[in-house]
Each structure stands twice: as structure tokens, then as C-alpha cells.
Amino acid sequence: MGNILKVKIALIIFSLAILILIPLLETNFYAPVTYKKWQQLIWDDFQGIAKPFTGWGAGISSGIQVEWDSTAEKFKAYAVQDNQSSWRRKVLNDPDYVLNHEQYHFNITEIHARILNLYLDSIQQQGNTNYRDKLITLKFKLDRMQDAYDGESDHGANWGMQRRWEYKVDSMLHELSDEKGKLTDYFSGAEIFFPTRPDLYKQNKVGFRPSRIYSLIDYGVSLTLFQSRFEEHEKFNLNYEIDNFFHEKSLQILSRTSVNTTYDFEVLVDSKDTTDRIVSTRWIYHN
């Protein structure tokens, strides 16, 4: 009987120790916190205690903070990172890659802060400042998206899915920026979406077909908008010109699909280069 009482008291002490210790570890023993607003992270932003026995290299704690902007006289939402609840292990195999993975966690938080800002702007124009319900909903969605990011990219271990998520998150951030993510070429009028701003190359040498090329090499892929000028009478030779393009680039055509479209001409061509990398192209001609 006495032994059972001792066992129960031991269980209570052991359990209370765990319940008290975990919040202490999570907050670095309540060290003063610095909340960093959304920007590029560096390893100095990770001051927390690494989780004992963890299998991961780092962890980030980020959230949405709503502040009163006295200059603009309105509420504004910010994505912030807590430096004491964010942690890293001392030894990491590829610190840059790990930091990049954590950065995209922070970027996901920024997406939701921007969505909240759109909502705040819309309700404040109507004289309303009650954003709590929306914040709760967004917090739920934010958690689900963070879980999906870690789940699909396997916490960054799946390189391909990590790149895919980077593309997705950058696209959403770009869409929610002032530029709205859409690029319009003022010569051709072509509109295209790039996840981040691409580089522009121009070809206007005499003897060559004038062209403008927007290119972005990231996420393990090359995204390119190639624009070239054709005269009206040349449009009947478009298929020949496309074949020439692939021939000159030493690309082997795998499939060619004509598309019924509102444009004068549209065709999708998949090809591969000499190292078996896939090149997917979409050709459009419009007067």
C-alpha cells in the first residue's frame, strides 16, 4: 500500500517536471524575445535551445502580429519570427539548404499576413476593425499550409518537392505583391506569370529575327518567355520555323499537340535535350 502511494507521488513529480520543463525549453528559459519582421533569415535569428533527441536540423517559430500603424492610421498585419523559439542544431550537413527551408516557412506566414492586410484594408474602409474571426481562420489555414509544406517536402528532404513548394510560395507572394505577379511585355502585349521577376534579354542584331526573351532559372528549372516577330505572310511557315528552332538547339521532339484556341495559332511541344532533360514549350502566334 505504502509502495503504491510512493509510486503515485513519483509519477506526479515526474509528470509535473515534464509539464514545467517543456515550456522552459521552448522559450529558452523565458529569454527576452526579438520579433523579426519578414525578411531574409540568418542563423543568428535562431537563438532557441535545440530540441533534445530531435531528428531535424532546425525549427522556426513564426506568426502573424497585428499592429496599429499611426502614420497610415490603420491596423497592419506583419509576419514575425520569434528568435528564442526558433532553434538550430550546432552541426548541420548543409546549413544553407536548411536555412532556405526555414525561410519558406516564414514566407508562408508572410503570405497569410498579406491576405490579412487585404482583409484589414477592406473592412477599415467600411469603418470596421473587428479582424479577430478572420485572424483565427487564417491561423488555422496557416498551420495547415505549414504542415502540408513539411509533409510534402518531407521537411526539405525531398529536393524536388522542396523546389516545387518554393515555386508555389514565391508565386503566391508575387501574386499578393503590388506587381500582382503578372508580367506584361509592352511590345507584344504578352502577359505571363513568373513567381519572381525574370531577367530580360533582347536580340536586335541585323540579319537576325528581332526577339525579346524573359528568363528565370530557379527551382531546378528554366522558365522562359521567348517572343519573336513574324510577318503576316510567314505565319503559314510556323511549323517549319518551330522544327528549325528545335533542330538548332539539338532538341528531340517527343510530342506535338495543336490546340483549338482564340489565338491565330497555338501548339504544345514537348522535347528532350541530349542529357534527357525535358523541355516543354507552348507556341502562340497572334496578330
Binding site: L5, V7, L11, S15, I18, L19, T27, G55, D150
Partner: protein
């Protein structure tokens, strides 16, 4: 017989002994006498020994005793023997389960826990229930039937809810405890799970009894 009860009651607390004396109708006279003797010797109580009853009355008492014992269900026994020890059992296991949940939440991003989150909670919960019953059986030297077990489980769940609620006020522990909203939902989910678990346990016990192999 008196010696047997003196030996058996020697480690009982004062309140346990007083309860035996106060509900003497439920105990054999030798057991009551033993409780009184220990109370007087160990705790300096001055409880007079009951007068020697006539043989006929004694027989009647014994018959009453047998009738009461046979008629009493396990829930009656559970209620009669319910004491601070059971409260301590339920609360200690509830704190243990809360600590287990906090640890699970702390390590929720680890691959092994992330992939089997629900299983970890369910298995932990079942182990907590079993521990609850093992402690009860060791202390009371008897098990309970379905209703009494379920009632004891509900006490454990109630303690668990209280601990979760209180723990939410501990600085930076809110994310490790269940929110009030979750708590209400979880209470009903747990109550249903417990009912199913106890039905399953009763069925297993029935099967074991049928094959005369009552290992618990």
C-alpha cells in the same frame, strides 16, 4: 480469525479503519473488532469494543451480512470503498497522461510521431486507463465490473480536463494543452472511446472466465 484481520489491517490508515467501524454491518464482527483494536493501540482512539451479542442475534447479523454482500453490486462496493486513494490514483494518471501529451506535442514534427500521431494518442490513452485499473486493483485487492470501471474512468477523464484547463494558464504552455473548445469535444470523444474500451475489456474477461483462465 481476529489475528488474521489484525494482520491484514495493520497498514490501513486511520480513516480506513474508522470507515470499517462505522459500517460494521458490512463486515464480520472479528474484522470490526480488529479495526477497533488497531485504532485504540495505534491511533490512541478510545473506541469501546462492541458488546458480545447473543448467539441468535449473531446468526441474524451474519445472515444479514451475507445477504448484503450477495446483493451488493460492484458499483455499490466501488462507492463504499471510494476514498482519497482513488482520487490520487485518477489524478496522478491524469497528470502522467497530460505530460505524455505535452511531450507528443513538443515532438509532433518528428517523423515517427508525425506519421502515427493518432495511434500514439490512442495507445497512450489505453495505457493510462489500464494503469488506472491496475492501481485500483492493487489497492483494493479486487477489480470492478463494467459500470464501476467506467465511472472510475470518467473520474480520470474529468481530472485530465481540469489539468488541461489549469495548464493552459502556465506561461507559454497554451500550445501544449487542449483549448477549452477542444477540451469539451475531447471529453465526449474520450468518454465514448472509454465506453467502447470497457465493453471490449468486459468481453475479453468473459471469454477468459468461460475458459477458466482469469489472468486479470
Amino acid at each position: 480469525m481476529l489475528e488474521f484481520f489484525l494482520n491484514r489491517f495493520k497498514d490501513k490508515s486511520e480513516s480506513d479503519l474508522i470507515r470499517i467501524v462505522n459500517s460494521k454491518a458490512n463486515f464480520q464482527p472479528e474484522a470490526v473488532n480488529a479495526a477497533i483494536q488497531i485504532l485504540n493501540e495505534k491511533y490512541n482512539a478510545q473506541v469501546p469494543l462492541p458488546e458480545v451479542t447473543a448467539p441468535l442475534q449473531d446468526t441474524q447479523t451474519r445472515q444479514n451480512y451475507v445477504r448484503i454482500r450477495k446483493g451488493a453490486s460492484d458499483i455499490d462496493k466501488f462507492k463504499r470503498s471510494f476514498s482519497y486513494r482513488d482520487i490520487l490514483t485518477a489524478s496522478s494518471i491524469a497528470i502522467l497522461f497530460s505530460a505524455y501529451l505535452a511531450l507528443l506535442k513538443f515532438y509532433s514534427n518528428e517523423r515517427i510521431i508525425e506519421n502515427a500521431w493518432t495511434w500514439f494518442i490512442l495507445i497512450g490513452f489505453v495505457i493510462a486507463l489500464i494503469l488506472n485499473h491496475i492501481f485500483y486493483k492493487i489497492e483494493h485487492r479486487r477489480g470492478n465490473d463494467y459500470l464501476a470501471r467506467y465511472f472510475f474512468d470518467l473520474i480520470f477523464i474529468a481530472f485530465f480536463q481540469i489539468i488541461q484547463f489549469v495548464y493552459g494558464f502556465y506561461p507559454s504552455a497554451a500550445s501544449l494543452s487542449l483549448s477549452t473548445m477542444d477540451g469539451v469535444g475531447v471529453f465526449f470523444v474520450f468518454a465514448i472511446l472509454v465506453a467502447l474500451f470497457e465493453i471490449l475489456l468486459s468481453f475479453i474477461k468473459y471469454i477468459l472466465r468461460f475458459f477458466r483462465w482469469e489472468i486479470f
